[in-house]
Amino acid sequence: MESLSTSSEFENLYSYLKRFSDRLVEEEDNLRIVVESEKLREVAEVLSKTEGVFLRTIAASDERSVNGFYKMYYVFGIDKIHRNIVIEVPVDSSDPVVPSITDIVKAADWYEKEAHDLMGIKFSGRTLYKFVLPDDWPDNVYPLRKDYTVQDLVKLYRPEIVTKAKEVEAEAAIIIPIGPYHPALHEPEYFELYVRGEKVVDARYVGFMVHRGIEKLAESMKYDQVPFLAERICGICGFVHSCSYCQAVEKALKIPIPERAEYIRSIVLEIERIHSHLLWLGVAFHLLGYDTGFMHIWRIREQVMILAELLTGSRKTYGLNIIGGVRRDIDRDKAKKCLQVLDNIEKEFKNFVDAAINVPQIKSRLRRTGLLPKSEATSLSLVGPTVRGSGIPRDIRKDYPYAAYKYIDFKPVVRSECDNMARTEVRIYEIFQSIELVKNFLDRIPEGDIAVDSWEPEPYKFGIGAVEAPRGEVIHIVITGRYSPYRWRARAPTYQNLPAIPIMLRDIELADAPITIASIDPCFSCTDRALIIDISSNNVKSVPLNILSLKSSKLFR
């Protein structure tokens, strides 16, 4: 593999960065560079203008106890050469201010908001208000700072249930209490859609209902307990989170994991993808009123659930990952059963989806709705089937190979129509592709151990773990501590993808809003560990009709 310093294409970028700072370290797959905050905007500008560089994640970390300041980590990725550029910006602890880069790198918007709320970092150039935390959260208490333990925070703030409920009573007279609960979104999130007649003119995400304080909790847990916590970030694609957490720790501490464990992880990841895409497809049919399709797709999916339970011991939240490997082996019987089930699913699914996708209403409502132009998709650094439906072949399995994907060759599924149908088709073909991949993995899986015997934590090492989840790229950053992670930053795909929704919703019919929102396969429990959107409203004169939509990955329920 090429590294940044040897790549001919990115030679200029490298020499530029090198001139910029002498504190530049080239690691196995990251290029880490320390940049003073005054120069941050300049570097960001250069990176955002370089073609093929995407923002992957941003993390704020409280390192006052180690080196006396806060630190911001900006992770940019160059898909082509499988390398990350990690820009580290030390932030003064008495006056934590960093220049905002949102106007240069669009995708940075939410990250800055989150860092402001949870870590108390201020961004010059923009004013931020409370987004993630409840409105009555005490000022100057930033949960992710090391000044507070989880117990302190619980003592500092408890909501007044009775008072709160009475306030609700007062405002609830007209709008009926379906609140953020809407049948299309099975999660308590909501969008406000501004509509004129039946046309949507604008949309605003009002969320953070599922913020559960996960990153803080992890700091009070031991290394081996965190995978179970990570898995509960999301009940649909939990395995990807525990996987990328483990990979981040393994990278940071350079723990070599057995090849067999890598294969087992990949097999379970693909099985999770099959189940998640089938689930999505079923819900999409339900959103389009085609309940028969929903029922049959879920009938087919049930076999995957039984298979997952057989392989891992649980239908969901598999509890399979530990640092250094996996807890359960796939023996010969299970592998045989697995192949059988997959064959069956492939046959049934092919038959059924062929019929279902030809239902006239499904066809006409998916085609040419929810358009997401390629240029917008690039500038927002979108991930997963959302971006692949717009003709950009970004796939972490290919771009930053991990686990057993290193050993295998495949092509990401790409569609270039940019509409809801394109995203649906990407998912449908990915199901077939995943079945193919699992068969391949089972074929090649080597004998051996499934976990390392022991490993020693070493504090203040930095590691990035990324996994291609069914919804897109999941990326975890871990800075290790002595007994538990010092800082753990999880970024879910929906976090990156949600800003695309207002673009897709503009000027479509109200009836198509649920399926369009669903088309990024939003998973709010992932996203809300911390985050929020704010789309500055444009100048369209709009009739504000608070459409509380949202519930699910099931979608708007």
Partner: protein, 165 residues
């Protein structure tokens, strides 16, 4: 054009797939992890499980004359880590999932252990089972130190050393 009608032959071919649970067997596979069962005759009350349990569904507390290992099924995430770490193999993962209850109270399981009182300060510090176990393993350990709580033990050892010197 009318391809979507194909759903009817598909449905006819598949028939009804519904499992008539609770009147028929559930779809549980062999590897399913349900509620755990603590074998009171093996458990020594060492607390290894309470330290690994991610949601702290297992907890150890001393109430009066007994130490209680409390298992709260309502918080359990059925990960099975406790069974992996238990040095006595006293924890068994069952396939039980029919746990619904009208009272949260009914979801607790307590295992009571006798406790040993520190000979010097009178504080309760360990279950007698664990102490016996330790006694068997460390035969050479001075008996008088065994029945002291960690704090008193340290004081005792220090004073002994001073004395010896």
């Amino acid at each position: 054009m009318v391809k979507f009608v194909k759903v009817i032959p598909i449905a006819t071919k598949v028939g009804t797939v519904t499992i008539k649970y609770p009147y028929a067997k559930p779809l549980v596979t062999d590897s399913f992890r349900g509620a755990i069962e603590v074998n009171p005759s093996k458990c020594t009350g060492c607390g290894a499980c309470t330290r690994i349990c991610p949601p702290k569904a297992l907890s150890m507390s001393i109430e009066g004359e007994t130490a209680i290992l409390r298992y709260f099924i309502g918080r359990c995430i059925f990960c099975g880590m406790c069974a992996d770490v238990c040095p006595e193999k006293a924890i068994k993962i069952t396939k039980e999932f029919e746990l619904a209850s009208e009272q949260v109270f009914d979801l607790y399981v307590d295992v009571e252990h006798e406790v040993v009182t520190c000979k010097r300060c009178g504080s309760k510090f360990v279950t007698s089972r664990l102490l016996n176990k330790v006694e068997q393993k460390l035969e050479e350990f001075p008996k008088e130190l065994l029945y002291l709580c960690p704090r008193c033990r340290r004081i005792e050892m220090l004073s002994k050393q001073t004395y010896l010197r």
